[in-house]
Amino acid sequence: MQAINQGNKKTVIVLGILTLAALALPIVGIPYQEYAMSVLTFAFIYTLLGQSWNLLGGLAKQFSLGHAAFFGLGAFATAACSSLGMPALISLAVGGVAVAVFSLPIGLICFSARGPYFTIITLAIAEILRIVFLWRPELSGSEGILLPPSIFSTRIGIYYLTLGLTAASIFTFRWMARSKQGLALVAIGDDEDACSEIGIKVKYIKSSTLLVSAGMAAVAGGCYGLFTQYLSPNDVFSINYSLEAIFISTIGGIGSAFGPLVGALLVSLLEETLNPLVPGAHLLVLGAILITIMFLLPKGLVTLFKKSDDKQGPRMQIKIKRRQPAA
């Protein structure tokens, strides 16, 4: 939670400079400008997706394997709105809200289970959506659908849009993590029954967090659709997005506000560099990096940037090794 120290001036200055650099990138001509913009745009979209997973997975340790469901639904909802003639930004917003509302019954379904059972339900939901979207031509069918061009199908438009949304997602996460609800989420990650015994309405807290999380993933999907202008169920509902959401927040540091940005930059860099050479290779490398990090730095890359005494924060470990009571 304490990804950066409050009042740590250096961090603020560094972040300020980075933000300015990101803002200036499309305007100031530098070598590899297009490449950098494209890496960053996808990094920003992935940050949204990773941050959305981070809200539930990072804080409350609810390991969803179905965030592709919200990503894909957001993409298709945004596409539907734009093809009805709504302006791109409105489509994105409507898509996000619609998916957030849709997540309420989903939450009801999947939060009745815990641990690996929860994970499986989320995975199954994403898979059901993929199959149903492939099946019904009025939803998409296997051909997929096209989106009308908009300001966000230009490199520069989508760049600034996703940059802004990323900043917003980081603030949202920090705000949630530091709120009363954030505290409760971390406690839920430790021990759900003990939470309900001190008066926390566990399902309510999880579902309301899922609402925000689903909306965020949906906006990520919407941005993806607006930029690529083509959506197919096999792509946007693919388990790869669910996995990437997890990797992005885990590689960068689970439960930390800047973790997903770090992870997303890495993923996007790998993807943009390796994909043109050997398609799909980045996922392979990603898996290898993740395993290495999980064994060596269980709290993620952000620990490298922290002082040694500032490494607290929610731990990945859920199972508490309890001492057996004396017989």
Partner: protein, 242 residues
């Protein structure tokens, strides 16, 4: 205040609690004893609604709580500690307590109030110096104390203590005994207390209920229960009881 009426709980074939009826009156400290596996913890889990009942009714302050959620039961004023402490390891000691303050009460104040109340409770139980460290760094005894502070933060009317003395040294035993008496006299909290350490329990409580194999064996003042042949039998076996 608390009325348990003909309550049963089966786990598959295991009859963990079998047709138990008992009552706890306001202001009392009631002890719950019984050999290992006699259903004491299960009874507490039934009262806090962690497990659904197989049969029977539980009333608290005249309200039927059978169908309530654990969080509603907490808001009604029942709080508990666990036999094996379950603090929130990812939170600091103070956060553990202030979280219970923020969610356990009907009208909680803001974060600042929660923190100052948490400090006050931690001082009461003697954990004040550890307020800022992560709960994962506490030892077992400290975890128990933290759980006690956490339960108190929800402003309970009835406190369920599950073997809070297990594994303590004599000095700590006296500390806890005094603390429990203080909780009743100063905080006006009724206590229902399950314990194996008879020496301390019998000195502290007003009344004792004894369970064996999930059934209520007997109930009464400490001296009556301690001399009841059935109680002696269930602890020591048939031969000793005769």
């Amino acid at each position: 205040m608390l009325e348990v009426k003909q309550v049963s709980k089966y786990f598959g074939g295991v009859q963990a609690v079998e047709n138990v009826s008992l009552a706890v009156e306001e202001g009392e400290i009631v002890g719950l004893i019984g050999p290992n596996g006699s259903g004491k913890t299960t009874l507490f889990n039934l009262i806090t609604r962690i497990y659904p009942l197989t049969a029977g009714d539980i009333y608290f302050k005249g309200k039927l709580i059978n169908k309530m959620s654990p969080s509603d039961v907490c808001h009604l004023g029942i709080s508990r500690t666990h036999q094996i402490p379950r603090p929130f390891h990812s939170l600091s000691v103070r956060q553990n307590v202030s979280l219970a303050y923020l969610y356990g009460r009907k009208n909680p104040g803001d974060r600042a109030e929660a923190n100052s109340e948490a400090e006050r409770l931690l001082e009461l139980v003697g954990l004040k110096d550890f307020a800022q460290i992560p709960a994962s760094q506490l030892n077992d005894v400290q975890c128990k104390v933290l759980e006690l502070a956490r339960s108190l933060a929800t402003d309970p009317k009835l406190l369920l203590l599950d073997e809070i003395l297990a594994g303590l040294n004599p000095g700590e035993l006296t500390f806890f005994q005094e603390l429990i008496l203080k909780i009743r006299s100063e905080l006006k909290i009724t206590v229902f207390w399950c314990e194996h350490i008879m020496r301390v329990l019998m000195k502290t409580v007003d009344r004792v209920v004894c369970l064996d194999y999930g059934r209520k064996v007997c109930e009464g003042s400490p001296s009556v229960v301690a001399n009841n042949p059935e109680v002696i039998e269930c602890y020591l076996g048939k031969a000793a009881g005769e």
